[in-house]
Subunit: 82 residues, 4 copies
């Protein structure tokens, strides 16, 4: 049987704790985002549509990056937002 209390276990523990730490931060950000959506909604915006806009902008962004290899700067910095 391997020595489970040895160097390898320490390294494993370290990796796992680093991951867990980062996942906590990630969750905090996710919560922040939820808060923003909640606030947006409370001010009368339609969250579902906001998500759609963001999705579209992300896609456009991806497109743009792919096209920049070919094209000069034609696309505006910010999509007009409806």
């Amino acid at each position: 049987m391997v020595e489970t209390g040895g160097i390898a276990a320490d390294a494993l523990r370290s990796f796992i704790e680093r991951v867990e730490r980062l996942e906590e931060e990630k969750k905090a950000l996710a919560d922040d985002i939820k808060d923003i959506y909640a606030e947006s909604k409370s001010v009368g915006f339609d969250v579902k549509i906001m998500r759609q806009i963001i999705r579209l902008r992300k896609m456009n962004e991806a497109d743009r990056q792919e096209q920049e290899s070919f094209l000069p700067i034609l696309t505006p910095t910010l999509m007009p937002l409806a």
Copy 2:
């Protein structure tokens, strides 16, 4: 017709940009996590098992917190139920 270039549009734009900013940060963290897994793997750990460990620890953590929080009377008498 409402003025679509007015205050509301500005607020919407602001909310959306805040969300997008946070999502970028979130993605950065996700990438960091991926890096850790990659490194772990390169040192011989089984990524799949690492994920399982983390999942288990998260579940245990959640259990504990929820158990402690309340249902202090009902839980012990009812839980076995077998």
Copy 3:
């Protein structure tokens, strides 16, 4: 061009109808569950707490099954990690 009214379309139709049938049954069960909660409430039980109990029991069940299934060596030595 493929023959859209042919074998493939029949198979697709069949799959879809099977899914729809099962979803109807599923919905019926969901309704039954709703009825039970309604009855419970009418007899004085707190539905929210009932749901919590059920959730806890499901989590415990899941934990137990996953714990038993394996990681028999790693878990005890690593889990505390405190």
Copy 4:
């Protein structure tokens, strides 16, 4: 303090077990549905699109039922399936 081992607790236990039983059946159906999608996919259908079709048909169904109060039988029994 209430008698936690008394009649009320029995009733609660009964309700909870009934719910749990039904939820098991519901889960079984959900698994069956997943199986069908898996099989569909293995035969070359696009699951994502199948879901869309089913969603549309459900919406049409809802529409139809709402309109039947006004209209005679004009809508066909089965939407053509693409």
